[in-house]
Amino acid sequence: MSVELSQSGQVLTATGLSAGYDGRPIVQDVNIEATPGKVISIVGPNGSGKSTLLKSLVGVVPVLGGSVRVGDKDITNMTPEKVAALGVGYVPQIDDVFPPLTVKENLEIGGYLLARRDVATRIEAVLEFFPRLKVMLTRKAGKLSGGERKMLAMGRVLMLSPSVLVLDEPTANLAPIVATQLLEEYIRGFADHGSTVLLVEQRAKAALRISDWTCVLGGGRVVLEGAPRDLEQDPVFVESFLGGGAARHQAP
């Protein structure tokens, strides 16, 4: 990485976390610790609460019990704008850009908290990282392809040099080759650069390849966790996620 994109990380910790909508918990009693230089991934079937968990970490969904910390700060139920200001960058699973705004304007909003004079240089830095965006600065975000759009979504978050990256299924709907590049080059790259990465990923195999630790979410709880090489040996994990035999054809 030629440019300073992300800062070296802070620890993100969730302790006994419960969260949900309208006071009804979806995620229950989750403990997660994401540390600098590591990719921590969360896998699990659709509807198991992965997105809800991430949203509760960044202040979009209310925390109903337990706590969330970044470094030495308690960020439980802090507003999303304050969480962003503390260096936590969050890329949602859907609605991850501002469609009617141009690519450049999306990046400018990403740099909303920067001093005005720093925005242009920061956009340059992000464009060095995602050069494909350079030629489409005046295009509306809603007109980008899936891969370009995800790059923009990540670029928006990188505008603030986050120390913690929270990414919700960044490879969904991407062509396999683009997905692999995003995961192995960029996302693994952030961690190697010292950032803290918390990643939700549908492609379990691909997630294991770049992760240092993986949690399996089921029904809103962590049902299994471990280092990738241990999970690869776990018959239950293999059966449910790595397509062992008949499980391949069933919805995970």
């Binding site: 704008e81 200001a85 949602p92 850009v97 501002f98 469609p99 304007e105 400018e108 909003i109």
Partner: protein, 286 residues
């Protein structure tokens, strides 16, 4: 050709009004049906000072301040509390309708039912492109043009304007980017309210004689112009206003002035039926 001149005036005033109206809808998600009553109340505040000797153009400032403060307060004390309760969106629409009636007839109770008019010199008559326009009308057109350019500049080039558009497009993502959306929304009410007050005051000047209920049917014109350009699209609003302004005045000349709102309403129905996202708007998924 004189109907074209009238149409241009109507369109210019409507453009200012619709841009404010559509900004409220886009950024704050409130279809503020009380807009017409804020317009006419602002006009009467301007008239109050004008009747006491203040230059009519100076009273525009008072009209704008009235619109800004009234709209901000409406949002702060009426719409936001209702929105917080997570009721169906239609609730806020009905509340706004109630506010409109209270605002209009409350005003009527204060100022009475009679017609009044601004004391303003019409100025010299100019013959431009086949239209006859008074000096006063030219000043109004100039004010409208300047204000629309300023709004364009605000939305395109300023940090606040971009934050407003981002909040409109995706409020959660805006917050995740560090935008204090509540502040952006409050500011939007102030700015759009100032447009509402300005529109109300020049509407009253342009109409000549007016009374407390003069803007009651204006909401139909606003809705038609907004839907024509695409809800929440400020540039569409300018286009919609121009079209509705010209269409209603030309039909007034050929059919009857009483059918102005009917024509606007027909356009509105047509848009809702065939292109509810406007001429320029695209079908949005979110």
């Amino acid at each position: 050709m004189s109907s074209f001149g009238f149409g241009l005036m109507t369109a210019a005033v409507l453009a200012i009004a619709t841009v404010g109206f559509t900004m409220q809808f886009a950024v704050t998600n409130v279809l503020n049906l009380a807009y017409g009553s804020v317009m006419i109340n602002s006009a009467f505040v301007g008239y109050f000072f004008n009747a006491r000797g203040m230059n009519a153009w100076v009273t525009l400032v008072f009209g704008m301040v009235t619109g800004a403060v009234a709209s901000w307060a409406l949002n702060r004390f009426v719409f936001t509390p209702f929105q917080r309760r997570n009721l169906a969106p239609i609730t806020v629409v009905i509340v706004a309708l109630g506010v409109d009636l209270v605002g209009t007839f409350g005003l009527q109770a204060i100022v009475g039912g009679g017609y009044v008019s601004f004391r303003i010199a019409p100025g010299q008559e100019y013959h431009i492109l086949g239209m006859f326009l008074s000096g006063m009308q030219l000043i109004i057109l100039a004010i409208c043009a300047v204000v629309l350019v300023m709004i364009h500049w605000l939305l395109r080039y300023t940090r606040l304007g971009k934050a407003m558009r981002a909040t409109s497009a995706n409020p959660n993502l805006a917050r995740n980017s560090g935008v204090k959306t509540q502040m952006v929304i409050s500011t939007t009410w102030l700015i759009s309210g100032a447009l509402c007050g300005l529109a109300g005051t020049i509407f009253a000047m342009n109409t000549g004689v007016f009374e407390a209920t003069s803007a009651q049917l204006y909401i139909v014109m606003l809705l038609a112009a907004m839907f024509l350009g695409g809800p929440g699209e400020p540039y569409g609003a300018m286009f919609g206003a121009l079209t509705i302004g010209l269409a209603t005045e030309i039909s007034a000349a050929y059919i009857s002035p009483q059918y102005k709102e009917v024509v606007a309403f027909l356009v509105l129905l047509g848009m809702l039926t065939f292109r509810p996202y406007g001429i320029f708007g695209s079908e949005k998924t979110n």
